[in-house]
């Protein structure tokens, strides 16, 4: 099939590019004689990954829970507010300008305040991750709900649908593809929120590990933690992407030429 061919080619390209980048990294280290406390060679980072797997695993679990809980909280808050703004005009009129203006506040600057309010533990990081994804989720969901094709609504109206039925059977499903793009963004951004939260103050997690390693000039450990973090972001994105494509099968690229010809006969 054409689709799986493309997928293999993509994986092959990804691997080739990664290898070239790793080689370049190694080359820079050798060429400029980089000391390991500035830029450790890739081999050293890799050995650090294997040196203390239990430690990395424990801290990874903490960060991963923060990310997942943050996603859960941020997604549910964003979707709920979008629904409220759609259903109640006053909520939209009063909150939408505030919501847009609030984006001028750098979320990172809020981290110390969140630390103060929600404490040193996991909850402040969860809130941080939730806050950072709240806006993209809420706006994409609201946009999707608002821009239902007018013809769909007309049709539902002539079928005698009540506003509630219209929302459930027409507006929500029609908004799913737009909401999905917000969810994809959230998957990539939520880990940033969690790590920033950990940097500001924490006793566990990959961000904490990186700060500790940095203070002891163990830069290879920092890179190891960074590597795991990147792995989380990438896996989250692709898992979400795959799930969303399964759940929203009608929102795909145009049919390929072969599918089209098969249909025409």
């Amino acid at each position: 099939m054409l689709g799986s061919d493309n997928r293999w080619r993509m994986v092959a390209r990804l691997m080739v590019t990664t290898l070239v980048l790793l080689a370049g990294w190694q080359l820079v280290v050798e060429l400029f004689d980089m000391p390991p406390f500035i830029l450790p060679p890739p081999g050293l980072v890799f050995s650090k990954l294997l040196a203390n797997p239990q430690l990395l695993w424990d801290h990874s679990l903490i960060t991963l829970s923060e990310i997942l809980l943050g996603l859960l909280l941020g997604l549910s808050m964003g979707i709920s507010l979008a629904l409220l703004m759609l259903l109640f005009n006053p909520v939209r009129n009063w909150l939408l300008p505030v919501l847009v203006a609030s984006q001028a506040i750098p979320v990172f600057a809020l981290a110390p305040i969140l630390m103060l309010w929600f404490g040193y533990g996991m909850s402040s990081k969860v809130v941080m991750a939730a806050l950072i994804i709240f806006f993209p989720v809420c706006t994409t969901c609201f946009d999707g709900l608002r821009h239902t094709p007018a013809g769909y609504l007309d049709l539902a109206k002539t079928l005698g649908a009540s506003p509630r039925q219209m929302l459930w059977h027409v507006r929500l499903p029609a908004a799913l593809p737009t909401l999905a793009s917000g969810v994809r963004v959230a998957m990539v951004v939520a880990p940033i929120g969690a790590v920033v939260g950990e940097w500001v103050g924490s006793s566990g997690g990959l961000g904490y590990l990186m700060l500790q390693a940095n203070a002891r000039m163990q830069i290879a450990d920092m890179f190891a933690a960074l590597f795991i973090l990147a792995l989380f972001s990438i896996s989250l994105y692709y898992i979400a992407d795959w799930l969303l494509k399964k759940l929203i099968p009608w929102h795909q690229e145009k049919p390929t030429e072969r599918q089209y010809l098969a249909r025409v006969e």
Binding site: P149, G151, D154, L155, T158, L159, Q165, P173, W250
Partner: protein, 263 residues
């Protein structure tokens, strides 16, 4: 099932417009027949149809009434078929046909399911029941839309150029199929195509300068073949439409200029 529909003193004044789009329109749609309103783009025919379907927002002023032979309002017993097929991409073909039940209660009974399959069979697309709309061609999608309209089982069907986006062969085939499938129902079709109006209209009116002008049609039953007789009628109709455009009815808006009028 079949009934006559009468429009009495129907008018529509959009909020903020200087004058009504149309007013005092009286029209009788004979029971179980096809009536066609032929009009140029922008003449208000789509607004009229949307008004009859109950789709005009409440801030605009709608006048008059639409009643059946017993004087009862027809509102709520109307199916509406638009130019686009409006199939919901997240539902299968069968679920799209059962849309009324889905939208109103969420559950589709086995009887409704069976009836929907029969309708799809009748329209020659029974094998597509489990597919999703985007897997179908334009003509097949419009057949599904027709099945959905039939499933609503209303005595009056309003159609807003549902065949205009199809290629000539598909359009021709679907026109015949629609006449066959909608037999017994009262149909009001609006179109800008004189040929379509003459092929499908038991009665045809020209909607021009905010008035309805009756148009003579061939006496043969619909769907009429596109032959030389129809061609003659079509030529006459086109001449009349050009005439109306060059000498507009006094007091009406000047025409915004059509494609074929300025010769």
């Amino acid at each position: 099932m079949t009934f006559e529909v009468a429009l009495r003193e129907v008018g529509l004044h959009y909020q903020g417009a200087d004058q009504p789009l149309f007013e005092n329109i009286n029209l009788t749609l004979p029971a179980g027949s096809w009536s066609c309103l032929l009009g140029r783009s922008g003449c208000g025919k789509t607004s009229l149809l949307r008004m009859l379907a109950g789709l005009i927002e409440p801030e605009h002023r709608c006048q008059g009434e639409m009643v059946d032979g017993n004087g009862q309002p027809v509102m709520g017993r109307v199916a509406y078929m638009a130019q686009q097929d409006l199939l919901f991409p997240w539902l299968s073909v069968l679920d799209n046909v059962c849309l009324k039940a889905r939208v109103n209660g969420g559950r589709v009974s086995p009887q409704e399911r069976r009836k929907a399959s029969e309708l799809l069979d009748q329209l020659g697309i029974g094998h597509c029941a489990k597919q999703r709309p985007e897997q179908l061609s334009g003509g097949m999608r419009q057949r599904v839309a027709l099945a959905r309209t039939l499933m609503q089982d209303t005595p009056l069907v309003l159609m807003d150029e549902p065949f205009s986006a199809l290629d000539a062969v598909t359009r021709h085939r679907l026109q015949a199929l629609a006449v066959d499938a909608l037999a017994g129902r009262t149909v009001l079709l609006i179109t800008h195509d004189p040929q379509e109006a003459l092929r499908l209209g038991d009665q045809v009116w020209l909607f021009e300068n905010r008035r309805l002008i009756p148009v003579e049609t061939p006496s043969s039953p619909i769907p009429r073949p596109v032959d030389s007789t129809l061609g003659d009628y079509q030529q006459q109709l086109l001449d009349a439409m050009q005439q109306a455009d060059l000498h507009p009815h006094p007091g009406s808006e000047p025409s915004d200029g059509g494609d074929y009028a300025r010769v």
